[in-house]
């Protein structure tokens, strides 16, 4: 069982690394740094997926890993760099609460996700269980990022890290069908969002689709 | 046939005696005030004179104005004829119990108030309005008295109540005393006597009954006056029959009993009239809006009488 132990340790390490990178993303208050860390996030994900493909003997997962590597670690960060430049978005990230409390909340979320996964025993194998706990933590941290940042781009980054958590979970579930399709679908979704941001010229906030329309409309004309 | 005769004679008796009682009260009042006063027969003369006169009816009056006096008179007459005077258990006495008699008087008042409104003058309105303020307080008080009596006697029939009051079971009861007081108060209010109303004045601020009938003249006024007398007689008879039932004849007893009953009745009327006059001369009329308090007191007394009944006797 030594081999399995190694497999397990590496998978564990990579998944844990993903959580760590998520935390580091939470810590950033520079736009470009954030984007760079997102690239790292995607990179770690790609490695993790590739490792899963190896140990599960599921070659199709390499496709997912490839998507993560090419699309998420390269194309998207570059595109977002461009958008930030082109649209003249502020280089600093405005947070809703300070970085410190956000980090604390993040710790709480990790504790929560472990607490939720603790009662899962027996039937589910350990690997999946640990993986799932990390994936859940990544998802929650991604959500936290979305709700604690004012900038549109950092919110998109939050969503993308959330999605990375999903892919982590999906690949961790051994033998799950449609994983590749799902990761492709999500990539399309992200592409849509990024294109949307570009098309609608969403500079500062998620909420308004045009700078001219700022605050004039909030759902209902009074 | 005999029974019908007795009932008929009571009907005529009340009609005949009513103006006399009014005259008697006026006479006593005058004497108490050290005036000589008109003859006790004066009311009869007044009525006859009024009957012979032509009636003057206001232009704006409707048929109701002309029908009402007869209606009022008939209702009160029927009611008065149903109250035991000299004998109980007359043949038609069961056609209306005490509640129905109260309601008959209510009918009369209803039409009197309408007649007051009919011509469309302020006086009629003021009278009707005040009368209808007094009635809603007097009637519940009356109903409470009825409750007390009928709970005691186990019946709302006047004849049965009287029979019970003659009987030995009554005893001295606080409830009975309270309902007597309440009944007297209600009677004063209903008959427009001092302190509630003054039958002898035409001062607009104080009038109630007289204001309503101000437009009446001739035979219509005669009917109204007769009805008022009958009503007074009714209340005196009622109080007499319930609280001093002695001498009352029962149905089917001989002529002698009826005669005794009749004499006793006359005596009771005389005493009642005297007391009324005495009371009226010794008290001042109250403001209209004090009347409500006066009658609320009667109502409270009546209600208290009912409640005390449960304490004093295991019903």
């Amino acid at each position: 069982m030594n081999g399995l132990g190694l497999y397990f340790d590496v998978a564990h390490l990579l998944a844990g690394g993903l959580v760590l990178v998520s935390f580091m993303m939470l810590y950033q208050f520079r736009m470009y740094a954030l984007l760079n860390f997102y690239a790292v996030h995607a990179l770690v994900l790609s490695a993790s997926v590739a490792w899963q493909a190896l140990i599960q003997g599921a070659p199709h997962l390499y496709v997912t890993a490839g998507i993560a590597l090419v699309f998420k670690a390269l194309i998207i960060p570059v595109a977002l760099h461009r958008i930030v430049q082109r649209l003249g978005i502020h280089r600093t990230i405005e947070t809703v609460v300070g970085i410190g409390p956000t980090m604390l909340a993040g710790m709480g979320l990790v504790a929560l996700s472990i607490g939720v996964m603790l009662p899962v025993t027996g039937s589910a194998d350990i690997l999946a269980r640990e993986d799932l706990a990390f994936a859940l933590a990544v998802i929650l941290l991604g959500l936290l990022m979305m709700v604690s940042r004012h900038n549109a781009v950092s919110q998109v980054v939050g969503f993308m890290s959330l999605e990375n958590g999903l892919v982590l979970a999906a690949t961790g579930a051994k033998g799950m069908p449609l994983v590749v399709e799902i990761s492709v679908a999500f990539s399309v979704l992200i592409a849509f969002i990024v294109i949307g941001i570009f098309l609608f010229r969403i500079r500062e906030r998620f909420d308004t689709v045009d700078v001219q329309a700022l605050d004039s409309f909030r759902g209902e004309r009074r | 046939m005999n029974a019908l005769l007795v009932q008929g004679s009571q009907m005529l008796l009340v009609l005949a005696l009513a103006p006399l009682l009014t005259g008697w009260v006026r006479k006593v009042k005058a004497r108490l005030l050290r005036r000589r006063g008109a003859s006790v027969w004066q009311p009869y003369r007044d009525l006859l004179r009024l009957l012979r006169k032509e009636a003057v009816v206001a232009d704006s009056a409707s048929w109701l104005f002309r029908v009402a006096p007869y209606l009022i008179f008939s209702a009160i007459w029927v009611a008065a004829a149903l109250v035991p005077t000299f004998a109980i258990n007359l043949i038609f006495s069961w056609s209306a119990d005490l509640i129905a008699i109260v309601a008959l008087l209510g009918s009369a008042r209803f039409f009197l108030a309408l007649a007051g409104l009919d011509v469309g003058t302020s006086f009629g309105g003021i009278g009707a309005s005040r009368e209808m303020m007094i009635a809603p307080l007097a009637e519940p008080a009356m109903i409470m008295i009825v409750f007390t009596l009928s709970l005691l006697a186990g019946s709302t029939q006047l004849s049965s109540i009287v029979a019970y009051m003659i009987g030995p079971e009554v005893g001295l009861r606080i409830s009975v005393a309270m309902s007597l007081v309440a009944l007297v108060m209600v009677a004063l209010a209903e008959n427009a006597r001092i302190p509630v109303d003054n039958p002898a004045t035409h001062l607009e601020l104080t009038m109630v009954h007289e204001a309503m009938v101000l437009e009446y003249s001739g035979r219509h006024l005669a009917m109204i006056e007769a009805a008022a007398s009958l009503k007074l007689l009714l209340y005196v008879s009622l109080i007499a029959a319930i609280f001093t039932p002695w001498g009352m004849a029962a149905a089917g007893q001989g002529l002698g009993h009826y005669l005794v009953g009749g004499v006793a009745y006359l005596g009771k009327l005389a005493a009642g009239g005297f007391l009324l006059a005495l009371f009226e001369t010794s008290i001042a009329k109250m403001r209209v809006f004090r009347v409500s308090q006066f009658l609320s007191a009667a109502l409270m007394l009546g209600l208290l009488a009912v409640l005390l009944l449960f304490v004093s006797r295991n019903l």
Partner: protein, 484 residues
């Protein structure tokens, strides 16, 4: 052709007819022709779906037609068809006014069929993953259609819908993954571990903790699509800013499809004795939606947003009913779903014509409709009463069953339920009285409205209030028993 084969073809027809016509419609320029084609395709789909009542294929790895979904498929295709009829007369007016261009119309029709295909796929999918994909496609197509007017408001509504929907999709996916993990250790790897039929059969052996976690994510993920408060935010704006046929389809169908997905998972949950009872969660979400929407209804100024909130309210009631469970409440929930789709889409048909006739969606400018447009006015009023649960219309029966059975079992839960119903009723009544009665105001353009779909829906709702056909009752009862 054997029975089995025929059934298989029918299911394929239900999926492929709309999918292929979506491609075809994307190529056809003329709007009249494409509107007709749209109707024709919808009718064909409806015919195929109706035939599924009689002929059913055995469940495969990907597709399934069973008692649980057959009524929804037929309902889905029926409302899809009537809406396409309504859409034809609605779109003509929009073109005249110039709110839509021929190009965007081409896009609109293609998307309409794509949406139908996606919803049908979500309903017939026997695979949780496939269903997830279908719901996602349906969401994306509606996002595109909501933004079709290209106004700021429409774009913003679409954007909001897109972002919130994406997060919902993510949560639902996570739940789906967990379900797979729970079943994998029992059923083994592969497609089987995601098939409904298998999941329901093996549910008792699943790890309850995993199921619990999965259900939380599924409830929130699909609940976002259902529009449960506090996940509802996209719903009112998406309804209000998109074309009205899309509002009708959103309220009448897409919400149902999402709820249907939840129901499937609820069945799995109900199968596992140790798992967290899904009831309390659903009851809480249902009640909060009901009460929240009830209050929101009072301050609405936009007629479509008003009815969108009413959809939230009704989704709350339905979720509550399924949360309560038991044969009566489940039956009522199913009936309520059906009635709500029919009624709400009918209301949106009426509202679409009304908004065209008055040239506005603002409630304050829509007054005295029964005077200025008697047919539309009375139909709208009837629809409002139907949705408010007045007899003899269908919703009354389901509300009767929900309330009375709840009170007999959990009196304390019935109090907020009744309060919410009354609250929402008061608001709807107040708004409806303003719309339908009083002196007519504002402009009043002639509208060549086809009210046939509208009346057809209302007639069905009326019929269901007094008489529900036997076969449907048996299906509902069977499904209610399955739901536990």
């Amino acid at each position: 052709m054997s029975h089995e084969e025929l059934g298989l073809w029918l299911v394929r027809a239900v999926l492929l007819v709309p999918a292929l016509s979506a491609c075809l419609l994307a190529l056809i320029p003329g709007y009249r022709l494409s509107a007709r084609l749209n109707m024709l395709a919808s009718l064909a789909t409806l015919a195929a779906a109706a035939a599924l009542f009689r002929v059913r294929p055995t469940p495969g790895a990907f597709l399934i037609v069973d008692d649980v979904n057959v009524v929804f498929i037929v309902l889905n295709t029926f409302v899809g068809f009537t809406t396409s009829v309504f859409s034809a007369s609605y779109i003509a007016h929009e073109l005249e006014v110039g709110r839509l261009t021929p190009v965007s119309l081409r896009f609109y029709h293609a998307m309409y069929q794509a949406l139908m295909a996606a919803m049908n796929l979500a309903l017939v999918a026997n695979n949780v993953g496939l269903m997830w994909v279908a719901v996602e496609i349906a969401t994306l197509t509606t996002v595109l259609m909501v933004g079709i007017y290209r106004t700021h408001a429409a774009l913003e509504a679409a954007w909001k819908y897109f972002i919130l929907g994406s997060v919902g999709i993510g949560l639902a996916l996570f739940g789906t993954i967990i379900v797979y993990m729970a079943s994998r250790s029992v059923v083994g790897e592969g497609l089987d571990a995601m098939a409904w039929t298998v999941l329901v059969r093996h549910a008792p052996a699943f790890d309850p903790a995993l199921l619990n976690l999965a259900f939380v994510f599924l409830l929130l993920g699909y609940g976002t699509k259902v529009g449960l408060a506090p996940l509802h935010a996209w719903l009112p704006d998406a309804h209000a800013e998109g074309p009205t046929p899309i509002s009708a389809v959103l309220s009448g169908l897409l919400l149902n499809v999402a709820l249907f997905a939840l129901l499937r998972f609820r069945m799995v949950m109900a199968g596992n004795a140790e798992a967290l009872a899904p009831g309390p969660l659903m009851v809480t979400m249902g009640l909060s939606s009901l009460l929240f929407a009830g209050f929101m209804l009072y301050r609405r100024h936009d007629i479509k947003r008003l009815f969108a909130y009413s959809s939230i309210e009704h989704m709350g009631i339905i979720t509550f009913a399924f949360g309560m469970g038991g044969p009566l409440a489940n039956f009522a929930g199913l009936l309520h779903m059906t009635m709500h789709s029919l009624t709400k889409s009918a209301i949106f048909f009426a509202v679409g014509h009304v908004a065209q006739a008055k040239g506005t969606q603002r409630l304050s400018e829509i007054r005295g409709l029964t005077v200025s447009h008697p047919v539309l006015g009375w139909a709208l009023l009837l629809g409002v009463f139907a949705i408010a649960g007045m007899p003899p219309l269908g919703v009354f029966m389901s509300e009767f069953l929900v309330v009375s059975s709840t009170f007999a079992r959990q009196p304390l839960l019935a109090i907020p339920l009744v309060a919410g119903l009354l609250l929402a009723f008061g608001a709807l009544l107040w708004q409806a009285v303003g719309i339908a009665f009083g002196e007519p105001q504002g402009e009043s353009r002639p509208v060549h409205a086809s009210t046939v779909p509208l009346w057809a829906h209302l007639a069905l709702v009326l019929m269901a209030g007094v008489y529900v056909p036997g076969p449907i009752v048996r299906w509902f009862q069977h499904v209610a028993a399955l739901l536990g």
